[in-house]
């Protein structure tokens, strides 16, 4: 429980400052100052995280970058949630050949080095934030799907479901009223963990220049700049990296805490 609180608190702070970025930032993240003294300034009270190669305030850029990371994380996970629950539910509830087909597809997704596919799709269809969200969502539903299917398989055999079926309740209603609410607990856990991994994927893509395009800031592309100045402007590498680490860590803490709360019996494996 403590973990959930800490994680949630950190996420709240990041999310609120991202939403209120224009107020908190103090600088326009795109505004340059090209005078020689203004570029690559060390962190100071004026610029908390220093400035980059074009004299832009890194702290402000990171606040705006947080918007990118968080929105990619959430939207990608919502996409994968919809697909995962839909396919997993159908697969687990109906079984038979539908189940067989869906499970084959899941296996394909599992054995695919997804990053390669994501990289390819994003490059070929154009690197922008929408494509990144959609592609991450489309490639990360397999674990959710498996999870939901397993829940459905067990719940399907429970007495309250059988009795509902005997009473002639429609499949849709059974799923909606009886199974889905009971199946969601592990889904919440898995979702929180997926937000973290979606953020990691987005940052890697932006780092490779395949995510959010300059001059728009994202944590990944601040690191791309930082890489070129690594032996001098350490702040360009350190802060965005830590930001990613802390954000993902917080989501994982929430996920892990949730798991313990929702499923106290076992210290489950992933």
């Amino acid at each position: 429980m403590k973990r959930i609180m800490i994680g949630a608190a950190i996420i709240m702070v990041i999310a609120i400052s991202a939403i209120c970025a224009p107020v908190v930032a103090g600088y326009n993240p795109l505004e340059m100052d090209l005078t020689e003294d203004a570029i690559l300034q060390k962190p100071s009270l004026e610029h908390f995280f220093g400035t980059d190669n074009l004299g832009r305030d890194v702290f402000s850029r990171m606040l705006y970058g947080a918007r990118v990371s968080l929105s990619v994380g959430f939207i990608a996970v919502i996409i994968s949630l919809v697909i995962g629950v839909l396919l997993g539910g159908v697969s687990g509830y109906f079984g038979g050949w539908v189940d067989a087909v869906i499970m084959r597809v899941v296996e394909v997704m599992y054995s695919f080095p997804t990053f390669f596919l994501i990289m390819m799709v994003v490059t070929f269809l154009g690197p922008n934030i929408v494509n990144v969200m959609v592609v991450i969502g489309l490639t990360s539903w397999a674990p959710l799907c498996r999870l939901v299917r397993a829940e459905f398989l067990t719940l399907r055999e429970r007495d309250f479901v059988s009795s509902a079926r005997v009473q002639g309740v429609s499949n849709f209603r059974i799923i909606r009223r009886h199974i889905l609410p009971n199946a969601m607990a592990p889904v919440y856990v898995s979702m929180t963990l997926s937000v973290g991994s979606a953020i990691l994927i987005e940052s890697a893509l932006s780092f490779l220049g395949l995510g959010v395009q300059m001059p728009a800031p994202s944590w990944g592309n601040i690191l791309t700049i930082g890489k070129n100045y690594i032996d001098y402007a350490w702040w360009l590498t350190l802060f965005p990296g830590l930001a990613i680490l802390i954000t993902v860590l917080s989501f994982n803490m929430i996920g892990d805490g949730l798991r313990e709360v929702l499923d106290p019996k076992s210290d489950r494996k992933d």
């Binding site: 795109l30 090209l34 074009l54 154009g126 395009q213 001059p215 070129n228 100045y229």
Partner: protein, 545 residues
Amino acid sequence: MLKRDNAVNIFKRPLFALVVFFCVTSLFFCGDYVFAEGYVSRDAYVSTGAADARILIPIFADDSASSSICSLIYTGLVKVDKNLEIEGDLAERWEVSPDGLAITFFLRRDVRWHDGTPFTARDVKFTYETMLDPASGCPYVSSYSDINKIETPNEYTIKFHYKKPYAPALLKFGMGIIPSHMYSEAKNIRDEAVGKDPVGTGPYIFSEWKRAEYIALIANQDFYEHPPGIKRYIYKIVPDESVQFLELVSESSDAMNLTPYQYFYRSDTQRFKSKINKYSYLAHSYSYIGYNMKDPLFRDKRVRQALSYAINREKIIDAVLLGLGEECTGPFLKDTPFYDETAPGYDYDPAKAKALFKEAGWVDADRDGVLEKNGKKFSIRISTNQGARIREDVAVIVQDQWAKVGVKVRVQTVAWAAFLDAFVNKKNFQAVILGWTIPIDPDLFSVWHSDSIGENGLNFISYSNKKVDKLIVAGRREFDQEKRREIYRKIHNHLAEDAPYTFLFFPYALPAVNKRFKGIEPAPAGISYNFIDWYVPESEVKYKF
């Protein structure tokens, strides 16, 4: 040849340049030193580059890594010296017929291929006939398409006949010659080359190519000028620019091209200064903003001129290149006879820009900071290729500067591939930020003549000016240097007046080389033209063999 200047390697084609003075004291005795030693080849030189070579056959090499390695393995009929003057290489001398329709080369008789076979006119004939054969798919064929006959009166003489006089012809004979005894039987030389070690006539012999890791060459002790001073040449592939720098400073490599930032800030450390020399001179390339002349927005000359006036080039050079570049007003290299210093240069003048906009009908009537005409806002989409950091930075700054005169700009970066497809082929763009390499010969046909507007043509901005077309053709047919000079200066002025591009800057090439290498003499051609004269004093040799 024009190439995109994405990856510039210092050992590539001779660099057209003005030297920024750099004094290496050891320069003064190096000549004596080498003679005293009787040209002993020692040590190894490890240079780094981001991309692997693709093919080590000069007539197919169309990327900078391949061309730079090829220039060490192969030699051509002529080469350019340190002042970019043409001089003989495999050809001892040549004659141009009075009508300009035939060129005869007299070849050296003492040249052998790396495998020992004597070099003859047959090899030259074979090389040029292969290039001219459409089936071989040689990318440079258009430079030679005016040749209609090649004759070899004897083993050491070769004569080229032209359909029309073609002034740039001589320079094009720098192309490396390939051995006929290795490839004349081959159906497809490209395929054949994959399994074979390249054999040339140059100062270095191919020794090993580990894909994606390095290419290793070894000094040719029988090279016809003299054996090179450095025994091993290694081209090491390090994809990441910042890792390249770490390699240079930690002395795992000996040379790279610095970025302006590295040159300016990161070479100050004791670690760098004690081990590495850095050089700077004008690279022979320029960057520009190109306007799509098919777009109604840019049809009015005054609008293009106003946009040019609204750009503060000095500031861009200071910010993006940290001052390591020079302002540019036309498509020829600064300080060459073809570049007209007096051509209109569009010094930063926002007031004039606003006045010109007003003349053209663009005013900010509703006072929202953006110009309008007939109710339409003045808004431009600037595109550039993704991953070119300098261009991306320029785009961001231009966006800022144009905003100040009331022009709204959206910056778009696109992957190189999609970029070429959308712009070069479909001409679906408004303004682009790009760069051109400046060839040694000033011929502008492929970029500025209206015949090059067609699909895939490089005049993708669709610039068309009858006067310029005429001058370009005249320049190609004229052998007299003085008359050519006049022609190209006129073109420079026309282009400046029409402002189809906003010419931005000539960047400096910024090579860095480990200090143990002596004999480096920066010249207009860069530093690599005399690579075979470089050497390492015996006491400083790092790799002993």
